[in-house]
Amino acid sequence: MSDMSEDLQTNRLKELKETALPCFQCGVCSSSCPVFRVSPELNPRVSVDSIISRGKVPSEGNEWLCAYCLMCDQRCPMGVSLAEILMVIKNISAKEGQAPPDVIESAESLMADGCQSPISSRSEKQREDMGLPKLPRADPEDVKMLFRATGAAEVLELNRSTSGEASE
């Protein structure tokens, strides 16, 4: 990674800390979080504390457990949005090759098909049988171009190689 993008990363982390600073550890986010209710390894209050004090989530990969339901964002009395903070952390983690395989798979499908899950001929047929129109599709080259120009193609490439290493 170039120095410039590392600087960018450090700056983003600094910004994140600042948005988290108003937190006074009331725990409303944790008591509202559906994931925490069933899987205590994602504890929103502790996550915010850890982001402020250590600049990262309590344990590696925690950010990916967030369902982005925005309950924490809705209820925080201090206007801290853990959901948005974790979204930025996911972006950073993906740039480090740590994105979960299923997320990569969906994004690959979008790049190829313009749609998150591959469009099967069966579902096309089902639409036809129901009298639904054939939907116009985006030019795949346009989608690829946008993926390349905005960084996602690179992130996908990187995660493909790291997940390849992991499975070897």
Binding site: D73, N91, D139
Partner: protein, 305 residues
């Protein structure tokens, strides 16, 4: 009214009967739909999580396609609605980002201007058409007890979406009432269905669904009414998975709202919608008129002493 229709990948290819129900009902309210070459919205938990810039650029491309036709966008999925609305909000608030995105869209002959609005079918029906106009068209009321789940991504972030009150959503209940249903309150009404983490950790995802379903089952509804294809699939197919994992016994039918609207309007072909449901329900096949039904409800209200 004419809209660029944005069914979204999930509805178009996994829940076509819900899309069918929208296309069936809107002409009765003088709404015309146009199909454009949209991509996935794109979905926040995958594309946006990987690259925020890619997310906003693809969303801007979708919106720009509608703008080029001079149309507002009609969304059908809560996820698409949130994704496009958040992207629009960000682009309208942040000129630097808009310019950056437009640099890329220029190569595709497109420009994001900010002229089209993003409207969900929920808003079209409640805010634009209104429940009076809907109930005036009901010829076959659907007298069942339901719980509604508006969905995280129609309610939050409230500061951007303004679909309903994020803590106490009531509009979908009122829409159900206008078709003759009895909406029930339940404890975890604004809680997530669990779909957001299914790809990352499926047991966590189904455990969230189990919690939500437990809260729903307590009030014993005949059906769950949703306004999002992803929530639909999570509730309908997910119940069985949750039952398998946790030994629960959930079996509650699920509807996308416009399916029930099509039934209440007594449109032909509604049986092809219901045939696709995995948890079946016997809807009253009565040909009872609205008047009869009204008297019935009146009679059932206990007179106060």
């Amino acid at each position: 009214m004419k809209f660029a229709f944005f069914p979204g990948c999930t509805m178009a290819y996994r829940l076509p009967f819900a899309e069918k129900s929208i296309r069936m009902v809107v002409p009765h309210f003088d709404v015309e739909l146009v199909d454009l070459a949209f991509t996935c919205c794109p979905e926040p938990n995958t594309v946006r999580a990987l690259s925020d810039d890619t997310w906003i650029t693809l969303a801007a491309r979708n919106i720009a396609l509608a703008e080029a036709e001079g149309l507002n966008i009609l969304t059908a999925c809560a996820g698409c609605h949130e994704s496009l609305s958040l992207a629009k909000h960000e682009l309208d608030e942040n000129p630097d980002r808009k310019n950056k995105v437009n640099e890329l869209l220029k190569d595709l002959g497109l420009e994001y201007k900010g002229t089209s609005t993003i409207v969900h079918v929920h808003q079209l029906l409640f805010d634009e058409i209104g429940i009076e106009s809907i109930s005036s068209k009901v010829v076959r009321p659907v007298p069942i007890k339901v719980v509604t789940h508006t969905g995280c991504h129609l309610l939050r972030p409230e500061r951007v979406l303004h679909v309903d009150n994020a803590e106490v959503p009531v509009k979908l209940d009122m829409l159900c009432e206008s078709l003759g249903m009895v909406p029930l309150e339940y404890m975890d009404k604004t809680m997530c269905c669990g779909a957001g983490v299914r790809k990352i950790n499926s047991v966590t995802s189904y455990a969230i669904l189990r919690e939500k379903m437990t809260s729903i089952a307590m009030v014993e509804p005949n059906a769950i009414v949703v306004f999002c294809p992803t929530c639909f699939i999570t509730f309908e197919s997910g119940q069985r998975v949750a039952n398998r994992i946790f030994g629960t016994d959930f079996k509650i039918p699920v509807f996308y709202y416009t399916e029930l609207l099509a039934i209440a309007l007594n449109l032909p072909e509604t049986d092809i919608l219901l045939a696709e449901h995995r948890v079946k329900i016997e809807l009253p096949t009565s040909t009872e008129t609205k008047e009869e039904n009204k008297t019935e409800t009146k009679d059932s209200i206990p007179s106060s002493p």
